[in-house]
Point group: C2
């Protein structure tokens, strides 16, 4: 944790930015919520718990800065808010997402899975890939279970 913070600090310095207290607080929140997909507002509220004096605009600026430095990735699931995800250590590529259309939950896939596809795209479309975004929309495991139960109870009520 501290380790990763240090690395981010160095990244900032190497682009002549400082790790101010506000920026540090923001990064800490991101580190503590790696699995979540926080919006700027979410981050703001969480940072405020520890550093109540911080302003919303600062959070936006910090997230923008971190995006620029590729410390975080900015994603959009189509719900009108941008969300910010820390890049995993050493990850060269953005991870993928499974968004459930029933309950809205978001799961992450760290595996690349796209190596072959990217090779094809680069060759056939003569496009040099620097990054990608892959999101699957569908039904998560939990909601599948729920639906099964529902179907069964409907059947039994028809049987009456």
């Amino acid at each position: 944790m501290e380790n990763r913070l240090e690395k981010i600090k160095k990244q900032l310095h190497s682009s002549s930015y400082k790790l101010t207290p506000q920026r540090e607080a923001t990064v800490r929140v991101l580190l503590e919520h790696e699995e979540d997909h926080l919006s700027a507002e979410d981050v703001y509220l969480l940072v405020k718990e520890k550093a109540p004096e911080i302003g919303l605009a600062t959070v936006y600026r910090t997230l923008e800065l971190l995006t620029e430095l590729k410390v975080v990735d900015k994603i959009n699931f189509g719900d009108g808010v941008s969300r910010y995800d820390l890049r995993k250590e050493g990850a060269t590529h953005f991870h993928h997402h499974l968004v459930c259309i029933e309950c809205g939950s978001v799961e992450e896939i760290q595996e690349d899975l796209l190596e072959d596809v990217e090779k094809i795209v680069e060759e056939r479309w003569h496009f040099i890939i620097k990054d990608h975004r892959l999101t699957f929309h569908g039904v998560c495991r939990n909601c599948q279970k729920k639906q099964n139960k529902l179907v069964k109870s409907e059947q039994s009520s028809v049987e009456k």
Copy 2:
């Protein structure tokens, strides 16, 4: 063209919606700009050329309706606007995009390419995939050429 309009009309009817003149004008614009990735505003301006009385809200409503019916796909390239793409005839899946980080151009990939990946995801993550979004960010063919030229001219100016 008329053919596809007819099909869309039927799709609307089968969900008990009508193809009003405003909706028809909007669909026509989408059909005439299949390769582009129009924002709601873009569509609005283009529709206005033919049907000047149309309101912006109607365009938004129509695009929302068409999205619901899966006639169009709503996409977001992270520039703060939603864009709307007609689904190709018979396409069950959304097509992919190549977004150039230099010039902003957007190219389309109609091929699926994800069959294998989806199989893996469904099996390993127990997730039922209904749709996906795949965007590659990188450098398009044109911009690669430009960069090559730039590098060469820089070399020659160094040589002086």
